[in-house]
């Protein structure tokens, strides 16, 4: 599904280049649950951003479900993101002035899904994640765990083939975190590829393998 060859990211500084990622070669197969670990500043989140097409300033080759990402225009990369990828963030990143229902509707609205279909999909999703009672609440009216649950529901609502999760339990207490990880495991068992960044070995244990990063290198 994903092949990275010699992917590098760096910033030009006055004294030379500062590398964030160096010669990353990596392969992720469809249906895998991969964990990226490493100390702070190792480049984990940057790698996740590159995989999610959010970061375009890198060098090397990136192949994603048969597409040569490194040769694609930014607009086409966004289309690829829309078609295949769902994101879960550490800080949930729900939109505060939208209700739970409206937050779930956003990814569908960017995928040209008809409004009648969108309503059905959102209602299904509310049901599936047991948050029907929260549909008209705003994020500020939810607990951290509930917000992350909504964030996961939002990530999977457009049926992505790949979920990228950046420290998804970082702001949650252990029982809430466990609940989210169980959810990821279930989604993976249903066929969704998952790449997560985490500091937690317990969370890493939910995945199939671990990729360790240190100072931008895979170690």
């Amino acid at each position: 599904m994903i092949t990275l060859r010699n992917v590098e990211k760096f910033y030009e500084a006055g004294y030379g280049r500062t590398y964030v990622l160096r010669r990353i070669n990596m392969e992720i197969k469809e249906g895998e649950f991969v964990t990226i670990m490493g100390p702070s500043g190792a480049g984990k989140s940057t790698l996740l951003s590159i995989l999610g097409m959010l970061d375009a300033a890198w060098t090397g080759e990136f192949e994603f479900v048969g597409h040569q990402v490194h040769r694609m225009k930014p607009k086409d990369r966004v289309e690829l993101n829309k078609k295949y990828i769902g994101f879960v963030f550490q800080s949930y990143h729900l939109i505060d002035n939208l209700t739970v229902y409206e937050n779930l509707d956003i990814p569908l609205s960017y995928r040209n899904v008809k409004s009648s279909e969108r309503a059905a999909i959102v209602c299904d999703s509310l049901d599936r994640f047991h948050i029907v009672g929260k549909r008209d609440l705003y994020p500020s009216q939810l607990s951290g765990g509930q917000q992350q649950l909504v964030a996961v529901a939002r990530a999977v609502i457009a049926s992505p083939k790949l979920i990228l999760a950046d420290e998804p339990t970082g702001n949650l207490h252990s029982s809430q975190g466990k609940e989210i990880m169980e959810l990821f495991k279930k989604l993976n068992e249903e066929g969704t590829t998952i790449v997560q960044v985490t500091h937690s070995h317990d969370n890493a244990a939910y995945g199939h393998r671990v990729v360790n990063l240190a100072d931008g290198w895979i170690v």
Partner: protein, 549 residues
């Protein structure tokens, strides 16, 4: 007709002054809404500071008072600057204002203006500082202390208040803009009105005969008969005439009359016409066209039968579809005179360009020499270049005969339109200012909105939003605000422009074209003003945006 003195002095200007005052009020409203928006934006960035103050024991009243004090101080500083500008503005108004503006010379900036500025400043400071102060000091201040850790985006109430203020701004700006456009169109119509005479290359001057050796009627006639050939012989002079009154200067004298040989109406129902005593070359000198019959000649003297030339307005009214030539007018002069109509000339505007044509009866000057006499000289070139020569000829004949108020025909027309020009200039200026303020307002709000929604935009991009989605999100917000503001502004203009009815000429207060043009113009400016921040939003890097706090 008896009218109170105050009404006589300010009557025609009152409505215009009220409209200008209303426009100033609207402009103040726009400026205040802008400042309130700035206060709100500044307050939002100070939420943490306010929360710390609250945590340290400051009550909501105390915080509100502090914020109000800041806004009043800001308003006072603005008021002080405004008072300085007002003092300069008064000088400008005195220079540019129409001569017929009542008490123009007495207008000056004094302590009352200063006091008014202070009172208005404090009031606006309190009025428009109150909403932001209450908004900022309310809500969950504790959340402000901890909110940065939650990855949240910004709430609704502040945005709604700011959006509401911009809607208000746009609505007020549109009202001013429609008023200004109506006046501009009216003024343009006014400029295209034919006053009935050719004002170019025309020199006029008053030749008062009310005292001195030319005061007696025969002497007036004799003096004119002597001076006019001398003036006509001056190089650059094409023709010379004289008249008891000039167009666009005032109604002057009038007379009750009846058409002789027709059943006479009762004396109190007799029609009235303006009367002018003119010399034979007057119509040629003024460029008033002869429509039928003849002009006066040197043979029309006090000893010849009484004759009259009438204007088209009178001819149409009393001889509709027939020739008035040979008709006879019974004029209620003392003693009464019956004059034969020998000619018809074009109508001229007697008082104002926008005014109606008045029925006018012209008599030969020799038959009715008036003490108020005006010389009119048609020149080949610049009229004022002949002023000294004309003065010299008059003095040469009679050194004691005054010749006053020398002015060109174009100056007469310009003076007749000075009030309309002044109103248009002022309201036009207000329109431009309101346009700019509205643009600044919507730019500020959209710009602030983008700044506030950086993280939200990052989230949306991460969830699949293309740049075009971001653009339509930001522009859509601006378009909604502009549309609402324009709808309210149109409704407001429909009501308020009725006040302007008496100031308009040839343009209806609800002129569709004007309303549409102003609305489209303001919408275009609103879109342009919001496009810049929208472009900034489009160029956001999603990674940076997601990390934005």
């Amino acid at each position: 007709m008896v009218r109170p003195l105050a009404e006589q002095i300010v009557g025609k200007t009152r409505q215009a002054l009220l409209v200008l005052l209303a426009a100033v009020g609207l402009l103040l409203g726009i400026a205040c809404a802008n400042v309130a928006n700035l206060l709100l934006a500044r307050g939002a960035t100070r939420r943490k500071e306010i929360a710390v103050r609250a945590a340290l024991g400051a009550s909501r009243l105390r915080i509100t008072m502090q914020l109000l004090a800041e806004s009043v101080l800001l308003a006072l500083a603005g008021g002080a600057l405004g008072a300085v500008l007002a003092a300069a503005g008064v000088t400008l108004v005195k220079r540019l204002g129409p001569a017929n503006l009542p008490h123009l010379a007495q207008i000056h900036a004094d302590w009352r203006l200063l006091l008014f500025a202070v009172v208005i400043s404090v009031l606006t400071g309190v009025l428009f500082g109150m909403a932001p102060a209450l908004q900022i000091s309310s809500g969950n201040l504790n959340a402000a202390l901890v909110e940065t850790g939650r990855g949240g985006t910004v709430g609704r109430s502040g945005r709604m208040l700011r959006s509401g203020l911009v809607v208000l701004e746009i609505a007020l700006a549109l009202v001013v803009l429609i008023g200004a456009t109506l006046l501009t169109r009216s003024f343009n119509r006014l400029r295209s009105v034919n006053p009935g005479f050719d004002s170019s290359n025309l020199l006029t001057s008053r030749l008062p005969f009310s005292a001195g050796r030319n005061a007696a009627p025969p002497r007036r006639v004799a003096f004119l008969r002597a001076v006019m050939p001398q003036l006509a012989a001056l190089p650059g002079v094409r023709s010379v005439g004289a008249s008891s009154g000039l167009p666009l200067v005032g109604l002057d004298a009038g007379v009750m009359f009846a058409v002789a040989d027709r059943p006479a109406p009762p004396p109190d129902q007799r029609p009235m016409a303006l009367t002018r005593s003119v010399t034979p070359d007057y119509f040629r000198a003024m460029g008033i066209p002869l429509v039928a019959g003849r002009e006066f000649t040197d043979a029309d003297t006090s000893r010849s039968p009484a004759v009259a030339v009438i204007d088209q307005a009178l001819a149409r009214r009393f001889w509709p579809g027939a020739s008035p030539l040979g008709g006879r007018l019974a004029l209620d002069w003392s003693p009464p005179v019956v004059a034969e109509v020998v000619g018809v000339v074009g109508s001229v505007k007697p008082e104002t360009v926008q005014g109606e044509d008045w029925a006018t009866i012209y008599s030969p000057y020799d038959q009715r020499p008036t003490p108020a006499t005006n010389l009119v000289i048609r020149t080949a070139g610049e009229p004022l270049a002949l002023a000294a020569s004309v003065q010299g000829e008059v003095r040469r004949l009679d050194p004691d005969q005054p010749l006053v108020q020398m002015q060109t025909g174009d100056e007469i027309v310009a003076k007749a339109m000075a009030g309309a020009r002044f109103n248009t200039l002022l309201l036009g200026l207000f329109g431009v200012i309101s346009f700019v303020l509205a643009a600044v307002g919507i730019y500020g709000v959209v710009s602030y909105d983008v700044g506030e929604r950086v993280q939200e935009l990052g989230i949306r991009m991460a969830l699949g939003a293309q740049k075009s989605d971001v653009l339509s999100l930001i522009l859509g917000h601006a378009v909604r605000l502009a549309a609402l503001g324009i709808a309210l502004g149109l409704a407001g203009a429909l009501v308020l422009t009725r006040l302007m009815e008496s100031m308009l000429f040839g343009v209806h207060p609800r002129d569709f074209g004007t309303y549409a043009a102003a609305a489209v113009g303001l919408a275009a400016v609103a879109l342009a003003a919001s496009y810049l921040p929208a472009r900034r939003a489009m160029s956001l890097d999603p990674i940076t945006a997601l990390r934005h706090e």
